[in-house]
C-alpha cells in the first residue's frame, strides 16, 4: 500500500531528476523546460513543508484545534508568481538570443541553426566569435 507521503515525495524526486537532466542540456528550450520542472518540484516541496494533512480546515478558527498550516500555501503562491514571471522572461530572452545570434545553444555560437525548423544546419560551419571581431 503506497502512502500519500511516498507518492508526493517520489513525485518531487522524479520532477527534480527530470528537471536537472533537462537543465543540463545544450539547447535553451530544453533548459527552460528543465527549469520549469524544477520550479514545479520546488512548489510541491514548499507545500509539503507544512506537513501533509487531509480533511482539516485551511485557516485558523477558534472552534477548531487542528488546522492545515496556511503559511506554506502563501509561500507557494509567492513562489509561483515569481517563477512564472521569470520563466516568461527567460523564454523571451532565449528567443531574442536565438534570433540575434542564430544559435539556440546556451553556451554560445558553435552550432548555427536553421531558423526554419530549429535543427542544426547540415553543413554547419563554426560561426566567427563575435567578441573577437574587433579590428
Amino acid at each position: 500500500m503506497m502512502s500519500y507521503e511516498f507518492l508526493v515525495a517520489s513525485a518531487i524526486g522524479v520532477l527534480v531528476a527530470a528537471g536537472v537532466f533537462l537543465a543540463l542540456r545544450a539547447r535553451t528550450f530544453q533548459v527552460v523546460l528543465g527549469l520549469t520542472l524544477i520550479s514545479y518540484a520546488v512548489n510541491l516541496f514548499l507545500f509539503a513543508s507544512g506537513r501533509l494533512v487531509i480533511g482539516r480546515p485551511p485557516i485558523w478558527d477558534k472552534a477548531v484545534s487542528n488546522y492545515a498550516d496556511p503559511l506554506p500555501q502563501a509561500l507557494v503562491l509567492t513562489a509561483i508568481v515569481i517563477t512564472f514571471g521569470m520563466t516568461a522572461f527567460v523564454v523571451i530572452l532565449a528567443l531574442r538570443g536565438f534570433l540575434e545570434s542564430g544559435s539556440d545553444h546556451v553556451d554560445g555560437d558553435t552550432v548555427p541553426c536553421d531558423p526554419q525548423d530549429g535543427m542544426a544546419a547540415k553543413n554547419a560551419t563554426v560561426a566567427p566569435d563575435v567578441e573577437d571581431a574587433q579590428p
Binding site: 524544477i38 514548499l46 513543508s49 514571471g85 527567460v90 538570443g97 574587433q134
Partner: protein, 507 residues
C-alpha cells in the same frame, strides 16, 4: 510613532515610489525622469546616513511592516552592518547613475532609470530584511532588475551572457526555496531572530535535514558571492554589461557575502547542533581558491573590463578569507575590506569605460592602440584604481589587507591565508601593470591615428568620485575600522539583536 521610527522603511520605499514615477514621465519628459532618479539616489544617501547615525551607538532598530507583530509578520532590522551596507549602496548608486547619465548610456533603452531604482530597492531590502522568505523576495527583485540592466543596450554578446546569467540565478532561486522549505518545516518560523532561537530545539533525528538545509542556503549565498567553484557566471556577465551597470553590480556579489555574514551567526550559530557554523570547513578553502582564480584572471585578462570582473572574484575571495574564521577581529577587518573592494571594483569598471570611449574601435582591449585624448589623466586614474584593488599603499586596500593579515595570524591555517593573500597581490600587481603599460604607454604608430574623438572631460567625474571615496576611506580609516569592528561584534552577538527584534516589534 514619530517620523524617526519610520526612517528604516524609507530605503525600500523611496526607490519603490521613484521607479514607477520615472517610468510614467520618461516618455514625455526625459529630463524629469532623470531628475527623479537623481533625487531618489540623493534621498537614499541622506536616509542611509540618518539610519547609520541612529544605529552607530549600538542599537538594533526593528520595524514591523504593517504593524504585524514580530515572529509572524515581516520585520525590517537595521544594525551597524545593515546601515553600513545601505550607505555603501547609495554611494555606489549615485556614482553609477552619474556615469550613466554623463556618458548617455541610459539613453540606449527606455527603462534604464526605473530598472535602476528597482535594483536599488532590491539591494536595500535585502540588507534590511529580518525575514528569510522576504530575503528571497528581495533577491528576486534585485535579480530581475539586474537582468534588465545587464541586457541594457542589447547586442548578441549581452544576450548570450544574459541567458547564462538568468539560468544560473533561476537554479539558485530554486535551491534557495528548497532550503527555506526545509527550515520552515523544521523550525516553524521564517523570522531569522526567531529561527535562531528555535534551531537549538530541533529533534536529534532531524539534525541531518537541518544540516542539509543550512548547507543549501550557504551554497546559494556562495553562488551570489561568486565563490569558486560557483563563479563561472560572473566574468562574462560583468565584462559585457554596460560599464555603469557593471559598477553597480560590484555590490551584487557583496550581497551574497552579506547574507552569509548575516544568516550564519544569527541562525546557524553555536547552538545550532549539526548545522553550527554551516559550511565553515569549506568556506576557507573556497575563499583561498577564489582569491587565486580571481587574481589569476587579472593576470591573464584580455580586456580591462574582463580584468575588473576577475578583480571582483579575487576581492570576494580575499574578503571571505577574513570571514571564514568567524572571529570578531577578522570579521571587522573583512567588513572594512568589503566597503573598500566594492568601491575599487566600481572605479575599475568606470576607468575601463572611460578608456574604451576614447580609444574608439580598440575599446578596452589590452593591446597597443593609437594615442588618445587625456591619456595621462586616464592612465593615472587606472593606476590609482589598480593600486586600490591590489592593496598597495597608500589607499584603503592596503589597510584592509593589512588588517586581514594581522587578524588571521592567530588562526591555525594562517600560513595558507598569508601565502595566498600575498602571492595573489603580487600577481594582481603584475597583471594590472601589464595592461596599464600596454594601453597607456605603448602607442602603435604604424596605424593611422583616428581623429581625436570629441569627448568632454565630464565623464572623468564618476570614476574620480569613486577614487575620492576610496581616499576618504583610507583617510578616515581610524573611524571606519572602529565602526567595522563594532559592527562585527554586533553581528557575532545574535542574542542581543534577537531580543531587540522580538521585543521591539512585538505588539
Amino acid at each position: 510613532m514619530t517620523f524617526a521610527d519610520h526612517l528604516i522603511v524609507l530605503p525600500v520605499a523611496i526607490p519603490a515610489l521613484a521607479a514607477p514615477a520615472a517610468l510614467l514621465v520618461m516618455r514625455r519628459r526625459r529630463a524629469l525622469g532623470v531628475a527623479i532618479g537623481f533625487a531618489s539616489c540623493l534621498a537614499l544617501l541622506v536616509t542611509a546616513l540618518a539610519v547609520m547615525a541612529q544605529v552607530s551607538g549600538g542599537a538594533t532598530l526593528a520595524y514591523a511592516v504593517g504593524a504585524w507583530p514580530a515572529p509572524f509578520g515581516i520585520v525590517l532590522v537595521a544594525d551597524r552592518l545593515a546601515a553600513m551596507m545601505l550607505v555603501l549602496t547609495s554611494c555606489l548608486g549615485l556614482i553609477a547613475l552619474t556615469h550613466a547619465v554623463i556618458t548617455r548610456a541610459d539613453r540606449k533603452g527606455w527603462h534604464f532609470h526605473p530598472l535602476f531604482q528597482f535594483q536599488l530597492m532590491g539591494l536595500n531590502g535585502a540588507f534590511l530584511t529580518g525575514d528569510l522568505f522576504n530575503l528571497f523576495v528581495f533577491f528576486e527583485v534585485l535579480l530581475i532588475a539586474s537582468y534588465g540592466l545587464m541586457l541594457h543596450g542589447q547586442g548578441a554578446a549581452r544576450l548570450k551572457a544574459g541567458v547564462q546569467y538568468v539560468v544560473v540565478n533561476l537554479v539558485g532561486s530554486s535551491v534557495f526555496l528548497i532550503a527555506l522549505g526545509m527550515l520552515y518545516a523544521l523550525t516553524g518560523t521564517l523570522n531569522m531572530a526567531d529561527m535562531g532561537l528555535r534551531v537549538a530545539a530541533v529533534a536529534a533525528e532531524d539534525q541531518g535535514m537541518l544540516r542539509v538545509a543550512a548547507l543549501l542556503l550557504v551554497s546559494v549565498f556562495a553562488l551570489k558571492a561568486a565563490v569558486v567553484p560557483l563563479h563561472l557566471w560572473l566574468p562574462r556577465t560583468y565584462a559585457v554589461a554596460t560599464p555603469a551597470v557593471a559598477a553597480l553590480f560590484a555590490i551584487m556579489t557583496k550581497v551574497g557575502v552579506y547574507s552569509i555574514i548575516r544568516v550564519v551567526p544569527q541562525v546557524f550559530g553555536e547552538g545550532a547542533g549539526a548545522a553550527a557554523w554551516a559550511g565553515a570547513p569549506w568556506l576557507l578553502p573556497a575563499a583561498l581558491l577564489s582569491a587565486c582564480v580571481g587574481f589569476a584572471g587579472v593576470f591573464v585578462a584580455r580586456t580591462m573590463s574582463e580584468q575588473a570582473a576577475y578583480g571582483v572574484i579575487g576581492s570576494a575571495g580575499t574578503l571571505l578569507i577574513a570571514v571564514a574564521s568567524w572571529s570578531a577581529a577578522s570579521l571587522g577587518a573583512g567588513l572594512y575590506y568589503l566597503a573598500h573592494s566594492t568601491l575599487a571594483a566600481a572605479a575599475l569598471f568606470l576607468v575601463a569605460d572611460v578608456t574604451a570611449r576614447r580609444r574608439r574601435a580598440y575599446g578596452d582591449t589590452a593591446s597597443p592602440g593609437p594615442a588618445f585624448a587625456d591619456r595621462s589623466a586616464v592612465g593615472l586614474m587606472f593606476m590609482i584604481a589598480a593600486i586600490a584593488t591590489c592593496g598597495l599603499p597608500p589607499l584603503s586596500g592596503f589597510i584592509g589587507k593589512l588588517l586581514i593579515l594581522r587578524s588571521v595570524a592567530a588562526l591555525p591555517d594562517w600560513g595558507w591565508a598569508w601565502s595566498v593573500i600575498l602571492v595573489t597581490t603580487f600577481f594582481g600587481v603584475v597583471g594590472f601593470a601589464r595592461v596599464g603599460s600596454t594601453v597607456f604607454w605603448k602607442v602603435r604608430e604604424d596605424r593611422e591615428t583616428p581623429a581625436a574623438p570629441v569627448t568632454r572631460r565630464a565623464d572623468l567625474a564618476a570614476p574620480a568620485l569613486a577614487l575620492a571615496l576610496l581616499a576618504a576611506l583610507a583617510a578616515g580609516a581610524g573611524w571606519a575600522t572602529a565602526y567595522a569592528d563594532a559592527a562585527a561584534a554586533q553581528v557575532l552577538d545574535p542574542a542581543q539583536s534577537a531580543a531587540a527584534v522580538l521585543t521591539e516589534a512585538a505588539p
